[in-house]
């Protein structure tokens, strides 16, 4: 980060290499309940990221000494597929994925009513199938949809997105080149209803003002992404309900007609 190279990250009109404005997100698509075996799941595309999240549990923790008699353990496993990056990644956990798994687990734990399921684990698996910067934010956003899909009791969903600094300007949602050659990257995650921050990392160089500017920009973006998460769950589950309502209305109408006759 911070290296000077010949890549122009922003043009004179403030447009970024993919044509986005400084406060514009990459396209995001979310789908809930996409796997059969898992208790809950979600698929998410965010720019060049393609991510699957699945939830199993609550289920009895094994081995026994991992059981907490007061609450469920929230265990998130972030994993990159070997083919998810340009230079093939060796399969299996590395230091980076272990750290990411830890902070994502902690962020998710905050919204889950873990005390309802003592001695269990709630396992969240995030598979990065295709990566293009911002995988932890995308993964966390998908994971919270998968948790809701699994029927896990929780305070709220969690929404995540990053801001950063490129070409001396604070921008939202870095893509790969911006992440590699920009001046700062700040992934964060919030509880949308209360605006509490449950994940925050930063590397690079920012002034206090830039940090605050970025924070409010990311907050606003998170609210928009939250809308997409809700939409994904609604789309999956409300079709059945809407069908009912239509039928109910029809039936009511029929009843009325019968009364008239």
């Amino acid at each position: 980060m911070g290296e000077n190279i010949d890549l122009k990250l922003m043009d004179e009109e403030g447009r970024r290499i993919d044509g986005r404005k400084f406060d514009e997100l990459r396209p995001i698509k979310i789908e809930a309940n996409v796997l059969k075996r898992a208790d809950g799941s979600a698929y998410l595309e965010w720019g060049g990221n393609k991510i699957l999240a699945a939830v199993y549990g609550p289920r009895e923790a094994h081995p026994r000494h991992l059981q907490d008699p007061t609450k469920a353990r929230v265990q998130c496993r972030y994993n990159m597929a070997a083919f998810s990056v340009m230079d093939r990644k060796r399969p299996g956990p590395d230091r980076r994925s272990v750290e990411i798994s830890k902070i994502l687990s902690e962020a998710l734990e905050y919204v889950i009513f873990t005390e309802q399921f003592p001695r269990t684990t709630i396992d969240i698996f995030i598979e990065i199938l295709q990566a293009e910067a911002g995988t932890r934010c995308s993964g966390l956003t998908a994971a919270s949809v998968a948790l809701a899909d699994a029927g896990i009791p929780m305070r709220d969903l969690i929404v995540s997105c990053a801001f950063g600094k490129i070409a001396g300007k604070v921008v939202l949602d870095l893509r790969k080149e911006e992440d590699n050659f920009g001046e700062a990257d700040v992934p964060l995650a919030i509880v949308p209803r209360t605006e509490e921050i449950v994940l925050l990392q930063m590397d690079g160089h920012l002034t206090t003002n830039e940090f605050q500017e970025g924070l409010s920009m990311a907050m606003k973006a998170c609210k928009n992404i939250y809308g997409l998460q809700r939409e994904a769950l609604r789309k999956r589950y409300s079709t059945v309900i809407d069908k009912n309502e239509e039928k109910e209305k029809k039936e009511e109408k029929k009843e009325k007609e019968e009364v008239v006759q």
Partner: protein, 258 residues
């Protein structure tokens, strides 16, 4: 936990059905579940395919890199196959280093491709004994409802058929398609009591006593085999399985070719 123990009731029911030539999901003994193959699904991979076999979902990515050839084949490119049974796919899959299940899966898929000469590995040599293209096949199991062998083998072949060697990225000339010579298709049959069932679902796998995977090429020739599980087959059964595998491979090959 309930996944490891199948209830005696369901075991007996499956036995009872197979005696009448029936299956728990209404399929015929030699009938596959619906198959769907999607190609080029991962842009970071040089080739990729997602295979749906009933409810089983497998994603295969092919990456191409540079490396040294093996000393005994200095003029050939290198092929390696790896499988990850990621814990997302089943409550019984665990995180951690590959276990015997995923290693067997990777090796069976690998043999089908290697022994059939699917790839013209000599065309992947850059400097004899020094520099060759390395083809990595990575199998990512996403949803496990039985018969990973056939789904993975189908996915691997489909991914290879749409793989482009990114030579220009390494400044080694123009990109080119992987040279595909053959189209091997794996067909797995299990034995339940004395009946033979192809493409077992998870529930059927749990009551199987023996399993045989037969990989055949477009000429119907046998290119790889793997017998698994604690039971046995009679000679007659093996012959029948080979014949039906050749027939079924013909049908399933179409999913890769189009």
């Amino acid at each position: 936990m309930s996944d490891e123990v199948i209830s005696e009731i369901n075991r007996n029911f499956i036995y009872q059905l197979t005696e009448k030539g029936k299956r728990i999901d209404n399929r015929a003994p030699n009938e596959y579940r619906p198959i769907r193959v999607e190609k080029s699904v991962v842009e970071t991979a040089e080739g990729s395919a997602r295979v749906y076999l009933g409810n089983t979902v497998v994603l295969v990515g092919v990456k191409i890199g540079l490396g040294e050839p093996f000393p005994d084949t200095p003029q050939k490119g290198v092929l390696t196959t790896n499988a990850e049974l990621v814990p997302m796919a089943s409550p019984t899959f665990e995180s951690g280093p590959p276990r015997e299940g995923s290693i067997e899966l990777a090796r069976v898929v690998d043999r089908g491709i290697r022994e059939s000469g699917t790839l013209d590995l000599e065309k992947l040599c850059l400097e004899e004994g020094e520099k060759v293209w390395v083809v990595f096949i990575d199998i990512h199991v996403l949803d496990y409802d039985g018969n990973l062998f056939d789904a993975s083998a189908l996915g691997a072949l489909a991914a290879l058929t749409n793989t482009t060697v990114p030579a220009s990225r390494f400044e080694l000339g123009e990109d080119f398609k992987l040279p595909i010579m053959h189209y091997p298709i794996a067909c797995t049959t299990i034995k339940v009591e004395n009946s033979l069932l192809v493409d077992p679902s998870l529930e059927e796998e749990k009551v199987a006593c023996a399993r045989l995977t037969v990989t055949t090429d477009e000429n119907g020739d046998i290119r790889a085999m793997q017998k698994g599980l604690g039971g046995s087959f009679t000679l007659e059964q093996i012959k029948n399985i080979v014949t039906s595998s050749q027939e079924l491979a013909k049908v399933n090959r179409k999913y890769v070719l189009d």
